[in-house]
Symmetry: C3
Subunit: 240 residues, 3 copies
């Protein structure tokens, strides 16, 4: 993919964001991208590939916001972009003259996404690349459920490489000064802090994380291992 991009635009500055996303794990890719793209300069073209289930069933798409472009398969990988940027315009990439020739059936990243990204960076406009669509695939991201007054039922939606557990809870779900018990696999967390290093080594903490979600972490330890937690594990918050 890098070779294809540089063959079209020798001046392109190609940046690796990550190669650590697990195969087929669209949600993890969506999170990684959502956490990173706001920090890139205006006009950045992001290319994302995670799902090898390529072929006719996945439309190649371009999602454009005011600040950036996103190119990849229509498998939900840009769901968090759509959620945050309501003015996103999504197009079905159909202008074959901007693809490699021939297009293989097994590597759309190289044959379609990379060349389209390079042509965009050279000034080709989104309008030249395909027709607008209004039904891109969106992942069903569980939102926490405010079950009763004083009870929230959420879930672990992502586990990072340190074993920190990202939940679908937001810091705003925790009123300042109100005491709570956060329950996860029969363990209790009662402190919301702003700093991984706040606890004693191994102590479980809730943290307002850099992705905008509340994370469960253990100072210098893997919270996932301590709690036996997995993605999808239930998280219940009870306010006293």
């Amino acid at each position: 993919m890098k070779g294809v991009i540089l063959g079209i635009n020798r001046e392109a500055n190609v940046v690796d964001l990550t190669h650590q996303v697990r195969s087929f794990d669209i949600l993890e890719a969506a999170f990684t991208l959502a956490r990173s793209y706001p920090y890139f300069p205006n006009g950045t073209v992001h290319v994302a590939v995670v799902d090898p289930g390529v072929g006719s069933t996945r439309r190649p798409i371009l999602a454009s916001t005011e600040r950036a472009h996103f190119i990849g398969p229509d498998n939900g990988i840009f769901s968090l972009v759509y959620e945050r940027e309501p003015s996103t315009v999504v197009r079905h990439l159909t202008a074959g003259r901007y693809f490699l020739d021939p297009v293989s059936q097994t590597f759309h990243g190289r044959d379609m996404f990379a060349p389209v990204a390079a042509w965009l960076s050279k000034g080709v406009s989104p309008e030249q690349l395909g027709e607008r669509i209004t039904d891109p695939v969106r992942l069903a991201l569980a939102a926490p459920e405010h079950a009763d007054t004083g009870v929230i039922r959420g879930a672990v939606i992502h586990i990072d490489k340190f074993g920190n557990l990202l939940t679908n809870l937001k810091p705003a779900d925790f009123p300042p000064g109100r005491s709570f018990r956060l329950l996860l696999n029969r363990r209790e967390v009662t402190r919301l802090v702003t700093d991984y290093a706040a606890g004693s080594p191994g102590e479980l903490l809730a943290i307002a994380g850099s992705a905008g979600f509340v994370e469960i972490a253990a100072n210098q330890r893997s919270a996932a291992a301590i709690l036996g937690a997995e993605r999808g594990s239930a998280v219940t918050v009870i306010f006293d």
Copy 2:
């Protein structure tokens, strides 16, 4: 290596192709390179290091085609380049003035390959770098055996990170419309398709892969795990 290159040519655009090749695995490196180099722009200098068995027994070499240069140890890593590009000229890198001083015995990538690559990118000619040789090391790549009319005996030559099995069979070995049974570890594959997503989840398929070889894959699953296959596993195709 990147520091050395940028120290000689500050304008160099250094691209990481992969850091995932297993130690000592020259064949995997050769495949990865062969699958990628045709997509890079004319004039690209490729540097490849995989084998830490450096030292006097491995000549540092430069292989030059009409479109690109390849720098690395003479351990067979460029075998697929030689096979595809019969006009490749190989040189033994001996012009010590283009190496770092001193050259360590344990990191030729940094001390010889990287500086030579940078000098090439600055306009030094291959002729200045060493004498032509005609006996570079070539890997003995198993070719499939057409045992009888209607029987081909091949092998798995590479397993990618998704568990897809690359065989040494070519799509041209499968006449269009002729039915076949491909046997691998007592399992049978009877469909050759052009698309990973063609099967039901977990179904085994033969695919005309992007590297030019027939791959055995399972939609959204690891074919290697399903089949218990390893590199070298026998693959037999019987045409009906």
Copy 3:
């Protein structure tokens, strides 16, 4: 971090050194950096993050030598730089106008180190970034002990991905021509060579490695696996 850097200095050439350092492993990061930085061009700004234990307890620092800048947490990650470059000037990064706003508590690499690195590359001077400090954290690196005439007691301080064991012994500890027995987990090494390929496959060798330390290696094998060695394993050298 790359996005932040490019947002401030679009001309920056961002190079990935490694993403393979284990979480929390400051010593491994210090080694990786020490082995690499001398090969980068004058003026390079190195950014290093390894410890997620960020927060108020770790000062963000800038260490400047005559040739390069180093930005990261004050957790000892630059200890080998201090040791080799006695004229290093260390500053506590306090000039908030060069940070992202707001600074999160959980990702100083993105919010403080990356923007400061970009501003340095744009010509902001170290003096503008914070006050000099004289008490940066230094790792206590075990030095080998010259126990008796003819006996040195050292340790394994690092194991690379090939299973080579870096010790804290220096080649200068081995007088040329003097025979020795190096003992590690009841196995003996008696040859100091300059080349991984010098031995027969699997033979244990002492090598003057590219990091400036004596390494224990096995030709085409993992010395760590053969010896059951870990970081911290004792290494004793007895001269005859």
